[in-house]
Symmetry: D2
Subunit: 294 residues, 4 copies
Amino acid sequence: MTVHNEALRDHACLIVHGPDRPGIVAAVTALVTRNHGNILSLDQYSENADGGAFFQRVVFQRADLTAAIPEIEADLAATLDEFGMQWSLTDQSVPKRMAILASTSDHCLLELLWRHRRGELPVTIPMVISNHTNTADDVRAFGIPFFHVPSQGPDKSDAEAKILELLTGNVDFIVLARYMQIISEDFLDAVGVPVINIHHSFLPAFIGAAPYRKAKERGVKLIGATSHYVTKELDEGPIIEQDVARVNHAMTAADLQARGAYVERAVLSRAVQWHAEDRVIRHGNQTIVFTDRP
Amino acid sequence: MTVHNEALRDHACLIVHGPDRPGIVAAVTALVTRNHGNILSLDQYSENADGGAFFQRVVFQRADLTAAIPEIEADLAATLDEFGMQWSLTDQSVPKRMAILASTSDHCLLELLWRHRRGELPVTIPMVISNHTNTADDVRAFGIPFFHVPSQGPDKSDAEAKILELLTGNVDFIVLARYMQIISEDFLDAVGVPVINIHHSFLPAFIGAAPYRKAKERGVKLIGATSHYVTKELDEGPIIEQDVARVNHAMTAADLQARGAYVERAVLSRAVQWHAEDRVIRHGNQTIVFTDRP
Amino acid sequence: MTVHNEALRDHACLIVHGPDRPGIVAAVTALVTRNHGNILSLDQYSENADGGAFFQRVVFQRADLTAAIPEIEADLAATLDEFGMQWSLTDQSVPKRMAILASTSDHCLLELLWRHRRGELPVTIPMVISNHTNTADDVRAFGIPFFHVPSQGPDKSDAEAKILELLTGNVDFIVLARYMQIISEDFLDAVGVPVINIHHSFLPAFIGAAPYRKAKERGVKLIGATSHYVTKELDEGPIIEQDVARVNHAMTAADLQARGAYVERAVLSRAVQWHAEDRVIRHGNQTIVFTDRP
Amino acid sequence: MTVHNEALRDHACLIVHGPDRPGIVAAVTALVTRNHGNILSLDQYSENADGGAFFQRVVFQRADLTAAIPEIEADLAATLDEFGMQWSLTDQSVPKRMAILASTSDHCLLELLWRHRRGELPVTIPMVISNHTNTADDVRAFGIPFFHVPSQGPDKSDAEAKILELLTGNVDFIVLARYMQIISEDFLDAVGVPVINIHHSFLPAFIGAAPYRKAKERGVKLIGATSHYVTKELDEGPIIEQDVARVNHAMTAADLQARGAYVERAVLSRAVQWHAEDRVIRHGNQTIVFTDRP
């Protein structure tokens, strides 16, 4: 049975993107109107006027949305497919299903569970999978299933196979909440849903192990975090959100790490929320993010 | 002769607002399209679905805009007037003419002149009027005419009459850059263009004289500034922008005032820029501000 | 049995304040040194050189601190009492005992419990008292005692008497986490420990009921929160911390309230932390706050 | 003739740093006291209790400071030299002399001149040197000498020699305001005063040419700037200050660069102010910065 958010009943989110062409905004808004949609918000971005890409997000209200979706989709296909535009139509009252993969570190995991519990993340969480057991009780206290899949052993493909079994068909996207394991290309291909990661970021960057120690030695005044979609290039996928916090000379490497954990929690939460609200459109290695930041 | 910003040649900004009705976004975008406009950005806000007000800002590119404006305006009138919608169409390459009224305090005045000089404010500044002469040399060093209109005397209507004479027909909006004089209702009616003011703001508010001393005595941790349109209710007009800065116990009342001056400069500059870019729509005692804040 | 924070073993915090006089900083640091203290941090503030007040916070490490406290206190009394200086010496490894008074609204309550659970607040929480029962399960899930003391009835003194009974001797300070009841002067006198409150703040202020609706109608661009010590003047006590969040025209009064709840959580948490770390010194209706903000 | 800031008359700033040892804070404060100094502010930082470095900044008021400096310095030498402590004593009413080296880009240069003009930077500016002439009129309009030293040619040592001639004996520190030339090791040795630089920073870093284009292609959400002391390692010297600004998908590479210029101006200004106020202590490749940020 599908969980519904009654406050968003009959709210649809339409995402359109593809090659820009004259009149595309008018065509999309006319389509919404002739399908009896009442536009609540509209965001739009044209890469450039001459042959760039075009992106639009429209949220509209439409009575009896569930029943109407097939005919709206037929109209979308008829209107947009010939121009090579991609589109997706989602019922905003149906929350996306989010799996969390975690490891020993719990700050990002618990932040997500906590925000979800407070009604601040429009998702359901069918499961948390960890390669350690230390967070099992915490997760289950939120009423969320916890599965332990150890990642030790000579071959990680066993672990990935077990994780795939758990995830397949059950989730709409995956969050790596400090999972700390490299995800294989095969896994990414097989799982078939977006995977969001979080990692620390510095100005300048510090490559390799012990980045907070290096940041301390370098005397940086800011530490940050980046949330991005996972691609085959480790930590190089499209960035969704970034932020920083101020630090100073009096803070130890451990203090920097604690401050960094705060930034990671906030950045990952925003990235997850925007993804869940269909505010993020991938475009090559970039993202278009129609945020709700005032 | 009209000054043109070549980078914005053939860019038009269309503002539409009025009672919401089904299909209004589609109607406006269709109008832009049939007038050969290429939509560059679109912001839209519906107060509420049932009978609230609707606001839209569309920036579009249209070859030979200057020549086409009359026919686009005719189409706008034919399409929108019957529904009681208000609209305005502006050529973004023509900067608005901004007069500044100032007094002895120079921080807001010089900030505006300085940003203008750096090309950061899309306006021309035909004149600065002050009731003191201390900033005359500074203003003229920027190549801008300075007029001295003293406000002393039993009757301020003389001063206002002189100011009106200078302004009438020459400016599109007026900025009170710490002008410190109460503007009469008659002046507002006669001048007929928007007037933007800046004043300090606190949490909580401190009424009357010496607000920084009171803020110091109260031990506030934030001081702020508010920029708004001037209406007959002093300091009660529609708010355009607000911001705050952090202060602490070690700062004197003079330090608070200096910090407050920084906030005033930043807040007024943003308000002026957004007004000049037609990003602010007045709606009763509120504003809709389609900012470009990322 | 006293709970100890091992990381802060043998760390003492000395607060000195009173009339400024030449050589006071040297006298206090000499005292710490002759008592074998190793100064870890030192903050100091002189209101003004001529007869103002002086404030100092010194954190020092001293082997066998517990055993040494009586002799250090004797030295403090001998050195400072004759000059009318007030002082307090606390063992930082002993967390303060914090009671929380709450009502139906849970955002501030749960934020404090959650941060405490993560080890981010150096306090123990011997009890939560609420005039409603809706948060009982949540509180007890954190392993913290919950007491229900209804505040209905013609006479609130009964409820206050029961609360006093629960608190007396058991707590070092009290936090009103959206308690929404006016605290009587008698209660404040009787309870004898600091009481910290949180409330929303706006620029400008909105007096009376439904402040978020008024803020929406006024079109404010910022909403804020203030945390302060409770005194006999309602909401007028010494301010500890304030902050704001940006809002815009598209947010409903309910959105403003939700955003306001975030600010309240953050502001109250910082105020509580700084109080618990002896970083806040009251001085008339002001506070000196030696923050650790980088 | 030395320029004096009357508001800081008789204010001294004492910086002490070196190996930590018990009682050092008490020893320094006792020294100030016995030399009739009234401590106005005191900042202190101990790297760690066991053999780390110690840093202290004391600002004190002392009647007839100018006359007393030799005897205070004698006391400092007698008290601190034997422990291997370094110290410096400066009269805060004497502003430091700051030279600016610039190139075609004027945003950092003009920001410094502008802030100086407004009394916000406690320095004098004896000269601006540029390898181009485009800013000459602007600089001279501020009443500041401008020298043109071209850097073209096969051998840059000629240019550096001319710059050295202009600077030697005339300045207390140098600011590279987007100077864009690599400073030779020989020049750094010969000039003998601190050199402060500003450059853009990103998360992640983008090496080499056209960093803003690369940042755009990577879709970053933040761009930043770093100000640091120049050492033999290009852009690797001790960091004084860093900050970032938010950007989004709709901004072009040129927009990012414009936004970056804002951040550079703010970061460099703060670094210069803190250096000028003796708030920055170099320690290996790090800095201790006792900021006045509230």
